[in-house]
């Protein structure tokens, strides 16, 4: 059984078809990259998978469960983790609290009106372990306003991981990162790869060739090519559409 299975997804905005019969299957431990020029419909596809938008037709299955009609929060509860293209954290919380509350969502009911959430050891332990994993161990108690852009990108990932997702949707995780920061993030993602299946939307081709098992090329709402990174690199249509004529 594939972890994430998308079947015949269609979405139109008026007369404009932004998703045309998209099907994708991502097996356990696979890293599937989605590339495509701007306006190809990558963000719309991410929105449909995460539940911000509903598809006009088609199905999205997570570990065999149809999640097409669940709300954003229900999909997260079902095990779909995601990071945002533009960093989105809780500005008045510390890094630890940001991660702990993400862990809280998956650790029993949050309809608890008494008891001190900030001193729940199980949540804090999980949050701190996750922050260690992404390399923010010594930045845990810092207000997020004082974190650098690169650190926020890592926090973004920690928030997604703290909910112990079954599948991770990564929306341009490298956006705005410098060379060293980017390399560190690729390193981190390659460590996750194999245990956590993911769909990676990214412009950084180097990162994609390092991480992806499979690459899909999305152009005008359709997947025009799919295969291993090398196959896609060799594919004429994909090169014409996205990699640019001269790319090799």
């Amino acid at each position: 059984m594939n972890t994430l299975e998308i079947r015949n997804l269609n979405k139109n905005f008026g007369a404009l078809a932004v998703s045309r019969d998209i099907s994708l299957s991502i097996g356990a431990g696979q890293c599937h990259a989605l590339i495509g020029p701007n306006g190809a419909g990558k963000t719309t596809l991410i929105h449909q998978i995460s539940g911000v938008l509903n598809a006009d037709s088609g199905e999205i299955m997570l570990e065999g469960q149809d999640i097409s009609h669940l709300s954003v929060s229900q999909r997260v509860q079902s095990g779909l983790g995601r990071t945002f293209q533009i960093t989105s954290v809780l500005p008045s919380f510390s890094a630890l609290e940001n991660t702990a509350i993400a862990a809280q969502a998956k650790a029993g009911s949050s309809m608890r009106f008494f008891g001190d959430a900030a001193s729940e050891t199980a949540l804090n332990a999980l949050a701190s372990e996750t922050l260690h994993r992404v390399g923010l161990a010594d930045r845990m108690d810092i207000p997020v306003a004082d974190l650098s852009h690169g650190e926020l990108r890592l926090l973004e990932l920690a928030i997604a991981l703290a909910a112990r997702p079954k599948f991770l949707l990564l929306d341009e995780p490298m956006a705005g990162l410098g060379r060293t920061e980017g390399a560190a993030l690729v390193q981190l993602l390659s460590e996750l790869r194999g245990t956590l299946p993911m769909l990676l939307v990214e412009h950084d081709m180097d990162a994609i060739f390092q991480l992806a098992d499979t690459v899909s090329v999305l152009v005008d709402g359709s997947i025009i090519a799919q295969g291993s990174p090398d196959e896609v690199r060799a594919n004429a249509a994909a090169r014409a559409a996205y990699l640019g004529e001269g790319a090799a």
Partner: protein, 315 residues
């Protein structure tokens, strides 16, 4: 220790001692004033749960004070005198009204939430003015008040004073616990970044709705006690100006500060009383005073108290 707990301990100790310290118990004038401020503070703390912790600026909160007051008054008129039964009725009715209005209002946020709560507040106000059997526009004087199992101890004087003080304390403590709980943390997350909270797996609207219900029910209880204190209800309790006053108390006291809400309530009641006794057009002074407070004490009264003295300097 948390400085706000020290301030709270001081405030409550002072309130607890007031009936014994004030030489004017016989007249009851000052005690009445303190009761008035405490009732305002109860409603303000509940509104601060919405504004300060939930980021939901409601301009209809006094509507729930009105609903609570009328639930109690109508209960009394129907012959129900036990204050505990009236309390249950008040909680049920305000909770129900909040559920219906909240489900609709929480489809919006920001300035639209402000407008829709204003609209609901006004609907409550006009509904109350149309209750001809209970005085309509003019309101209703209550000839019998609630009792505690037949005892009139909760009707006036220091008995009522301690009931109101106890309710204020329960509100303070309850909201304190709620804001620190898992629920409160989700509420703050939703205030900070609702989209993020949703993608953390929280159904933001549900948490907001429950906060809205809790706040409305607390406001309703303040309405019940207001009836007991004033021996009178009128639709004016639910007027939008009252909701505005509550926002002023919350902002003046400092957002997300229960102590601030209490101090803000006392500040407003005292300023009104003092200025009102000096000058008929007291609002001419009150207005600029609020402007100055908001401009120069942005964090509110609670922030002024918490102001830290820079190291190496004496204050």
């Amino acid at each position: 220790m948390d400085r706000s707990l020290v301030v709270a301990a001081f405030i409550f100790a002072l309130l607890l001692a007031s009936p014994f310290l004030l030489p004017l118990i016989g007249e009851g004038y000052l005690l009445g004033l303190i009761i008035k401020a405490m009732l305002l503070a109860i409603a303000a703390i509940s509104l601060d749960l919405l504004i300060g912790h939930g980021g939901m600026v409601s301009l209809g909160h006094a509507g729930f004070v009105g609903v609570g007051a009328y639930s109690a008054a109508i209960g009394l008129e129907s012959g129900i005198e036990n204050i505990l039964v009236l309390l249950l009725i008040t909680l049920a009715v305000t909770g129900l009204v909040a559920l219906v209005t909240g489900v609709l209002a929480l489809r919006t946020s920001g300035v639209y939430f402000l407008m829709i709560t204003l609209a609901f507040g006004q609907m409550i106000y006009f509904t109350l003015t149309s209750l001809a059997a209970y005085g309509g526009d003019d309101g209703l004087t209550l000839w019998s008040l609630a009792t505690l199992f037949g005892s009139d101890v909760v009707q006036s004087g220091s008995g009522l004073y301690f009931v109101v003080l106890g309710t204020l304390f329960a509100t303070w403590w309850g909201v304190y616990r709620i804001t620190r709980s898992r629920f409160g943390r989700v509420l703050r997350a939703a205030r900070d970044n609702p989209e993020r909270a949703e993608v953390m797996g929280f159904s933001v609207t549900r948490y907001r709705l429950i906060a809205y219900l809790i706040a409305a029910m607390i406001a309703g209880v303040s309405g019940l006690l207001l009836v007991q204190h004033a021996e009178f209800v009128s639709p004016a309790l639910a007027a939008w100006q009252r909701s505005g006053d509550l926002i002023v108390v919350v902002v003046l006291g400092g957002l997300a500060s229960r102590n601030g809400a209490i101090l803000g309530a006392f500040f407003i009641v005292i300023v009104e009383e003092v200025l009102g006794s000096i000058l008929h057009e007291w609002r001419l002074i009150y207005g600029p005073l609020l402007v100055l407070m908001v401009l120069f004490a942005k964090g509110g009264i609670s922030d002024l108290l918490a102001a830290k003295t820079p190291r190496g300097q004496t204050s």
